[in-house]
Symmetry: C2
């Protein structure tokens, strides 16, 4: 248990799922993935809707590639990017594990605080 990464900075987290979540924590990268649902795209095609320079697009693509969300072509000079959506399945499955709690908000905390108020405080130290 002590080997788990404790860093609060997502950039330090190295496990595959953390890389995926960190890659998705940016609206431009999410928009790029949405664009790639329509099919592979070159760097210039990806940068156009955001007025982004080639290097800025490439930087985002490297983050997405490292997370396994994008693959780059090796043949053509333009190295088109294509969607690899497999990690998205893991994201969905992880979030789905919380489905039974989606509707709930503060009710359980209220219940818990009520129990605590009636209870011996030393049980909750």
């Amino acid at each position: 248990m002590n080997t788990v990464a404790l860093g609060a900075n997502p950039a330090n987290a190295r496990d595959p799922l953390s890389l995926v979540f960190a890659a998705l924590a940016d609206p431009t990268r999410r928009a790029m993935l949405t664009r790639l649902r329509r099919g592979p795209a070159t760097v210039s095609e990806l940068g156009e809707p955001f007025d982004m320079t080639g290097p800025a697009v490439s930087k985002h693509l490297r983050v997405l590639e490292r997370a396994g969300l994008v693959a780059r072509g090796r043949v053509a000079q333009s190295r088109p990017a294509t969607l690899k959506a497999e990690p998205m399945k893991q994201v969905a499955e992880w979030a789905e594990e919380f489905r039974e709690f989606w509707g709930q908000r503060y009710d359980r905390l209220d219940d818990y605080l009520n129990v605590m108020a009636d209870d011996d405080p030393k049980d909750h130290a």
Copy 2:
């Protein structure tokens, strides 16, 4: 379109969904959320399985709170944390939009590169 946040660093992303993804990009924080499925927990209860100090737990909780994934009790001194799973629904829904691509990997890139090879290069500049 130019108003979209272009920073590559997830910590700079301020939109709600980016905050959620960034909060989930850490295995300890994900484990804390999984623990909270069993019910609210105090800082010391949350830190125990990871051998974490109170301040380290509190730091993670602040990230989760800011993302709307956790609420803290205001009554008791121990300020128990409780799960707020609503943002997880947004995560699942976002990932689900890619469902039709989950099984696919490189096939579409191969198709695309084959088309490019047969095609006039200036169409892909």
